[in-house]
């Protein structure tokens, strides 16, 4: 596969990355700022969400309405989100409008108006969304799981906490916005149809003069309780569980990914076959790999009617433990083909590539080529994965359930 990665580092440390894609008329971009939930001070959980909304409520010479109209006028599709490590601010659009979009986003990040009258609706909207989670047990259970699995502040909720949100003041939030929207530590990624020289000139012109300081390492605490049940009089028990595994930056990363693929990669995987196909216990069941720089885990979700909740949990845990007993050559082959196919098909989407190149750079200080990832996947064997599993058995599960009935953990 021919692939080019563009890179330019500004004098202040900001990194610009790009991946051109032939044959598309679109472009996606994203700016990663070290303003995620984990970087905010304690007692302000949710402030990153408020900031990410507030900065769009007026920037540079445009008030809330004028800014919204300008963004809409470009037809762009916004994608902003709050993660643990970063605040992600990005968009996807038709390529001819990129320069204008970058102009607006520069204002949003460097010159947000952060007016008093727009603070309250920004804060209230985050509160409304948080309250809305009460009626979404499937979504809520995975947030509650991460809070307890990952040590504080990594696991801090990316939806916020009600008491903290209610206690926020305009002044404090404005102060945190100004100190955390530090572009000197930012990673800017672009993928699709673009002119890298033009992008660099534009970004350097606006962001270049900004100075900032590298952040200290996060002070990471301990994990939460092993099992939590949250009563909810719904139709199902929603089960979330998570176990530690190799991190993205570890040498065993690809063996961990292959193991998760055997466990839950496709419909012939262990979990789908044993829990759903053979026993009819669930409709929705699946496990995923997730990693921060400091820690990683394999999470699993299952939704099931209350009478079946205990059996569902027991079968899932049984499958996690059984994996190290043996994996067939055919299973291994399917896991590898699945991972390689997904890699190639994801590379067709400009938004997916933007996410990948930004995340790679943050984790590794460089962008992996698709060939490199493919070769690493191909190098996995039954022996390498079993060796990994036997040296790193699945244990120390964190479990959360939401529903009308609890489960027992042995």
């Amino acid at each position: 596969m021919e692939q080019r990665i563009d890179k330019h580092v500004l004098a202040n440390g900001m990194v610009l990355l790009g991946e051109p894609m032939a044959g598309v008329q679109s472009v996606a971009f994203d700016i990663m700022l070290s303003a995620g939930a984990a970087w905010m001070p304690p007692g302000a959980c949710g402030v990153a969400n408020v900031i990410s909304d507030w900065i769009f409520r007026g920037a540079g010479p445009r008030d809330n309405r004028a800014l919204g109209d300008a963004l809409d006028g470009l037809g762009l599709h916004r994608s902003s989100s709050v993660g643990s490590s970063h605040l992600y601010i990005g968009a996807a659009l038709e390529s001819s409008n990129l320069a204008q979009a970058l102009g607006l986003y520069s204002d949003i990040i460097l010159n947000p108006q952060l007016s008093d009258e727009q603070f309250e609706p920004a804060r209230q909207l985050v509160i409304e969304e948080l309250c809305g989670l009460e009626d979404e047990p499937r979504h809520k259970v995975m947030l509650e799981l991460r809070k307890r699995f990952y040590p504080d502040p990594l696991g801090r909720s990316t939806a916020g906490e009600l008491a903290d949100l209610q206690a926020l003041t305009v002044a404090r939030t404005r102060e945190l916005a100004k100190s955390h929207l530090d572009v000197s530590q930012a990673i800017f990624s672009v993928a699709g149809k673009y002119d890298f020289d033009a992008v660099c000139r534009q970004i350097e012109g606006v962001f270049g003069p900004q100075q900032g300081e590298p952040l200290n390492a996060l002070d990471v605490g301990s994990r939460g309780p092993r099992y939590t049940h949250i009563p909810h009089e719904g139709a199902q028990v929603h089960i979330g569980l998570m176990t530690p595994t190799a991190r993205f930056i570890d040498k065993d990363y690809y063996d961990a990914r292959a193991a998760v693929s055997v466990l839950s990669g496709g419909m012939s995987s262990r979990l789908f076959t044993e829990v759903r196909e053979k026993r009819g216990l669930c409709y929705a069941i699946g496990a995923k790999y997730h990693s921060f720089k400091q820690a990683a885990g394999i999470s699993c979700y299952a939704g099931t009617t209350p009478d079946k909740a205990q059996e569902t949990l027991d079968v899932i845990l049984g499958e996690f433990h059984r994996l190290a007993e043996g994996i067939s050559e055919q299973e291994m082959e399917r896991a590898k083909v699945g991972l390689k196919s997904a890699l190639i098909m994801q590379s067709e989407s400009s938004s997916s590539r933007v996410d990948s190149i930004g995340s790679d750079y943050y984790m590794l200080g460089r962008v992996r080529t698709l060939d490199e990832i493919k070769e690493n996947i191909e190098a996995r064997t039954v022996d390498s994965v079993l060796g990994f599993l036997r040296s790193n058995p699945f244990r120390d599960f964190t479990v959360v359930t939401i529903g009308p009935r609890e489960v027992r953990l042995d």
Binding site: M21, A22, G23, V24, S26, N64, R65, G68, D69, L71, D72, L74, G75, L76, H77, A92, L93, E94, E120, P121, L125, E128, C131, G132, E134, D135, R138, G192, G234, A235, Q236, H238, G266, M267, S268, F272, T273, E277, K278, R279, G280, L281, C282, Y283, A284, G303, T305, Q330, E333, R334, V337, G338, K340, S341, I344, M345, S347, E348, S349, S350
Partner: protein, 408 residues
């Protein structure tokens, strides 16, 4: 991109849009079968049948089916709506023919009793999952209230009672009628060899016998009734409104799509500025739902109980303002930009194009290129949108609300 088509002697239509530069291919089997084609006694059979197709054939067990898909790295799935069942897969080009042969074989399933009984439990879990997803539960209830006796009001999943009572024999009868080749379309997009694909489908599907199968198409404007249900586990108000719409065949459908964006897009719409921006609701949207011979607009709001009355006052105010004054040039221009942007992004991947290709044929019996859709969007005028507003009567709608029980 190059369009190709062929119709087999048994009526099966094959269509393809070849893009030699793509890295993948996507294939779909579209069947004109959905909840609207069911009687109330067998409500849920189309969706159950969709599940059963993955359970295999005389030759293949369900595990062998799953292994066959996974060993080729296919990203495959299926869905059932009120009027379509669609089986699709995205795959690297070298595996396309294998996956096509697999799908074609699955289209003649074994429908074994023991698989039928286990899968009943999975369907019932899916029904329970829908009950714990208020937006889905609400949509089902509101659609049923809106359409009344019209079959478009049937629930796709069915109920616990109808699923429990369903027999394998009833499913086999339904299957042999609706899964006839003259009631299906096979579509393919991306990087593939058309001649090879067409020859494969001729061999694997060419001998299926055609059936006499149809679907009565009556337009229905909706009952405009109002209802509410309390659910003990809810903390928020969930409100659905359904307006009369236009069909997937109607020339006004492009104006309808623009109207739904102007009123209820995620950003910059009437709902956004008056409800979301003001933090009165965390969700407020309008979507256009074109269907076979009929259509609807559906609106969804989620807010606190305290704000519910105010939200509805504002929504009714927006509808009155649109009925009295129509939309502005600026609103329409922005809606067009969003649609054109969305088309460009969606068409990055063959899977993004597949559904449009298949649905255009199922609903219109014709091919429409991306360029044609772009031109139709650009050609919409303010007068057309305002005329549509008058015709559908925005102030009149069916409403269903789900929320917590009122406190004393």
């Amino acid at each position: 991109m190059q369009f190709q088509r062929q119709t087999l002697s048994n009526g099966l239509v094959l269509i393809g849009e070849v893009n030699p530069g793509a890295k993948s291919a996507a294939i779909g089997f579209f069947v004109r079968a959905g909840a609207r084609d069911e009687t109330s006694q067998i409500n849920g059979v189309s969706h159950f049948l969709e599940h059963m197709l993955f359970k295999g054939t005389e030759r293949l067990s369900s595990l062998e089916v799953n292994e066959a898909f996974d060993s080729r790295g296919a990203q495959f799935n299926a869905f059932t709506s009120e009027e379509q069942t669609v089986f699709h897969a995205a795959v690297l080009p070298e595996y396309l023919i294998d996956i096509t042969e697999l799908w074609a074989e699955l289209m003649r399933p074994a429908l074994r009793d023991e698989d039928f009984n286990i899968e009943k439990d999975v369907i019932k879990e899916e029904i329970a999952m829908c009950q714990d997803t208020p937006a889905s539960d609400l949509m089902d209830r509101c659609r049923s209230l809106h359409f009344g006796e019209h079959p478009c009001g049937h629930s796709v999943l069915g109920t616990i009672e109808t699923i429990d009572a369903l027999t394998a024999r009833q499913m086999r009868e339904y299957f042999s009628n609706r899964y006839a080749p003259n009631n299906m379309v096979v579509a393919c997009t991306g990087s593939f060899d058309w001649d090879q694909l067409a020859a494969t489908l001729e061999v694997t599907c060419g001998r299926w016998p055609a059936q006499a199968v149809g679907r009565p198409l009556t337009d229905f404007p909706g009952t405009k009734q109002k209802a509410r249900a309390d659910k003990a586990n809810l903390k928020r108000e969930h409100i659905c409104l359904i307006h009369t719409g236009v069909s997937a065949q109607d020339p006004r459908r492009f104006a309808a799509a623009m109207l739904s964006l102007i009123v209820g897009n995620d950003y910059g719409s009437r709902f956004y500025w008056d409800l979301i921006d003001k933090a009165l609701a965390e969700e407020a949207s309008m979507q256009f739902g074109p269907m076979d011979g009929t259509g609807m607009f559906y609106n969804y709001f989620c807010c606190s109980t305290d704000n519910a009355d105010r939200v509805m006052d504002i929504v009714n105010g927006i509808f009155r303002d649109l009925a009295d004054h129509g939309v502005t040039d600026e609103e329409l221009a922005k809606a067009k930009n969003k649609v054109l942007s969305a088309l460009v992004i969606k068409n990055e991947v063959p899977m993004g194009r597949l559904l449009d290709l298949g649905f255009h044929w199922m609903y219109l019996g014709e091919y429409r290129s991306i360029e044609q859709d772009v031109e139709s969007v650009k050609a919409v005028t303010v007068d057309q949108v305002n005329s549509l507003i008058r015709q559908i009567d925005l102030n009149s709608y069916t409403q269903y609300t789900l929320g917590p029980a009122a406190t004393a």
